[in-house]
């Protein structure tokens, strides 16, 4: 099996989907010969040509609009938005046009919006955001946030073949940091299936995307202190794998929800509600949410490091829960 980085696995997923289905094509700013600002589509122009790997003007609304329209007309467009932060300039196309389309018309929109998301690279408030909660609010949009190369390829293939709009948010810090064995053939990881990254018995930690690694680091340290943390990686937020979360919680009765996006108004609040509504009887301690601070994302290293929840905060939270 070839060894691939997270970014390479995404490229391999795109290539696999394009070879298998003539209706799949790519569009976005600088995605053609240049290969996108993170190099994810590099080489695909050479293999598939300008018809299927298409550079666009600097126009997010028109890019997302094209994806919607082309999907209505039978294609499977995969649009890259250069940074997830810039989806906002095409926001209305996504949330007003795409999201309710099927509900109103019965017509499905099989398109994918890919975008580098997340922070940690010292590039500040306009290139680091994690905007998933914004889109989580709108019925009609699926949201996928992979954390490993293997998942990234399998989830991307599932997203491209899905009949509905999928927002595929890639963590840019993982693009070149992570490597693992990834099958070179086609495989899908179904949307809406979480995975237990590390089994544990005392506390459930639910997270996704790059925060998985902080959770695993905390879990390894906690183990030395006799606390067993179960790490659940959601992989997709919509659809949400409630069963895996509830199953884990039924075992541990204690939960931490962790994400990189600000705590206020984040996915964490929704997951706390889920546990309260569906598993109240299992609750042995208050549920702890860990998310970023309520400020824009800063550049200076000390500020940015302080902005995100730290491994230490996770450890302290787990300790509070077992001592409760």
């Amino acid at each position: 099996m070839p060894n691939m980085s997270y970014g390479e696995a995404i490229r391999d997923g795109l290539r696999t989907a394009m070879r298998a289905d003539e209706n799949v094509y790519l569009l976005g700013e600088d995605v053609a010969q240049f290969g996108g600002v993170y190099g994810i589509t590099k080489g695909l122009y050479d293999e598939f040509g300008a018809r299927r790997v298409k550079n666009t003007p600097l126009s997010e609304a028109a890019i997302i609009g094209e994806a919607i329209g082309a999907s209505i007309a039978g294609l499977r467009p995969v649009a890259e938005i250069q940074f997830s932060d810039f989806i906002t300039t095409g926001f209305s196309q996504l949330v007003d046009v795409a999201a309710p389309y099927t509900f109103r018309s019965g017509t499905h929109l099989p398109f994918v919006i890919r975008a580098p998301s997340g922070g940690g690279l010292r590039i500040g408030p306009y290139h680091s955001k994690s905007l998933e909660a914004l889109f989580f609010h709108f019925p009609g949009l699926k949201i996928v946030m992979p954390s490993t190369p293997y998942d990234a390829k399998g989830l991307l293939l599932a997203a491209i073949r899905d009949p509905d709009p999928v927002l595929f948010l890639e963590h840019k810090k993982l693009y070149y940091e992570l490597r693992e064995e990834v099958p070179s053939d086609s495989y899908e990881i179904p949307l809406g299936k979480a995975v237990v990254r590390r089994p544990g018995t005392n506390v459930t930690l639910v997270t996704y995307s790059a925060m998985v690694y902080k959770a695993l680091e905390a879990a390894a340290k906690l183990e030395q202190e006799g606390i067993s943390l179960e790490v659940v990686d959601l992989r997709s937020l919509v659809p949400l794998d409630e069963a895996t979360i509830l199953q884990s919680f039924a075992k541990t009765n204690r939960a931490i929800i962790l994400h990189e996006a600000p705590k206020r108004g984040g996915i964490g609040g929704e997951l706390v509600s889920l546990l309260c509504e569906k598993a109240f009887d299992y609750l042995a301690a208050p549920i702890i949410r860990l998310g970023a601070k309520m400020t824009p994302i800063p550049v200076a290293p000390a500020l940015e490091d302080f902005y995100y929840p730290s491994v230490d905060e996770i450890i302290q939270a787990a300790k509070r829960l077992v001592q409760y």
């Binding site: 700013e29 600088d30 010969q33 240049f34 600002v37 550079n55 003007p57 600097l58 126009s59 609304a61 028109a62 932060d85 810039f86 906002t88 300039t89 010292r122 590039i123 500040g124 408030p125 306009y126 290139h127 601070k293 400020t295 824009p296 800063p298 550049v299 200076a300 290293p301 000390a302 500020l303 490091d305 302080f306 902005y307």
Partner: protein, 343 residues
């Protein structure tokens, strides 16, 4: 004559007496030269640090975004402003930031993300501004500061002030819907704003012909009912003349204009980008049209700039830059708790 005109030859096309007076004054001409050189040398320093620093312990946090080879636009346009006028800069407007009074210290503090930078280390590189100097803070989202420029212009109009706004953006930014909304809106209200479009032929890797289907972007002005001009952005005096004319028009309450300045991005998008997608010949061709070189030749022909003066201006700038780098280098970085400080 239609609303769009193309000015390719250097001439007193604008017929603006005030502008011509400035352009006859050796002191003013030398001052323009100082700003051009300051911009070039300051950004060369930024590039030098980016390329030579230890990536594990960088001094510049992030990359450098330079305006090398396009200084004539930013300096020439900003030089047309008066005290109390406002600037909505793009990311290629180091020249305008300097002309409008930002300091080398501020720029390096910002690039080094120090606690005392104009953004307290919260933002970096060219995401900068200075409200006390009537300079809006640039944001990444291309074109998004232009409607804000309209807002400032509306406030000036509201108060009956005789000031104007200079709104700067690129050919790539011009593809944003918000830019269209801004132009139309400004024209409807006859807002005192001048739009300066820096057409440097590339948006990251995307060449102009993949960005738009017209040769001259100022053609769009006609659709908004405002004057549009396409000019040589590498001729600082031309830029100054035409922007000055548009600024004075806006000051008289006659509304906005669009001035497209043709130039070339003489490098990558940022210091990290070797721009291998741009043919070498394109750089060579444009190198001959370097705005600073052209202007220097003019000054020398006119007997305004001697070799001694040239050396002393350069020495002065070098001193200013070194002083600013040393100053910024010794200023503290922000600490964690600064994140939550209310400003």
């Amino acid at each position: 004559m239609g609303l769009h005109t193309i000015h390719s030859s250097p001439a007193n096309t604008a017929g603006n007496a005030a502008a011509e007076e400035v352009l006859r004054s050796p002191e003013r001409l030398l001052e323009i030269y100082y700003y051009l050189l300051l911009t070039r040398m300051l950004e060369n320093k930024v590039a030098y640090i980016c390329h030579n620093q230890n990536p594990q312990q960088p001094i510049i946090i992030g990359k450098g975004y330079l305006s090398t080879g396009q200084e004539g636009i930013s300096v020439g346009a900003a030089y047309a402003l008066e005290s109390g006028d406002w600037l909505a800069p793009s990311h290629r407007d180091m020249g305008a930031l300097m002309v409008r009074g930002m300091t080398c210290r501020q720029i390096f503090l910002q690039y080094f993300a120090r606690a005392s930078s104009p953004t307290w280390g919260r933002d970096g590189n060219v995401h900068v501004g200075d409200t006390s100097k009537q300079i809006l803070f640039f944001i990444s989202h291309m074109g998004s500061n232009l409607p804000v420029g309209n807002g400032v212009a509306a406030a000036l109009q509201y108060r009956g002030a005789k000031n104007v706004v200079l709104g700067c953006f690129g050919d790539g930014a011009s593809s944003q819907g918000v830019v269209h909304e801004t132009m139309n809106y400004a024209s409807v209200f006859k807002l005192p704003i001048v739009f300066v479009l820096n057409n440097n032929r590339y948006a990251i890797s995307t060449p102009l012909h993949e960005q738009c289907a017209v040769e001259h972007l100022a053609l769009r002005a006609a659709g908004y009912g405002m004057p549009g001009k396409t000019i040589d952005g590498n001729n600082v005096m031309e830029v100054y003349r035409h922007v000055k004319e548009a600024v004075e028009r806006a000051r008289r309450g006659e509304g906005p204009s669009l001035i497209e300045c043709k130039t070339m991005r003489m490098g990558g998008h940022g210091t990290h980008d070797p721009a291998t997608y741009i043919p070498k010949e394109e750089f060579e061709t444009w190198k001959k049209r370097d705005p600073i070189l052209g202007y220097k030749n003019y000054l020398q022909e006119q007997g305004i700039l001697t070799e001694d003066q040239e050396q002393s201006i350069k020495a002065r700038i070098e001193g200013e830059i070194e002083e600013a780098v040393e100053y910024a280098r010794t200023q503290p970085m922000p600490v964690a708790e600064d994140l939550l400080k209310e400003r």
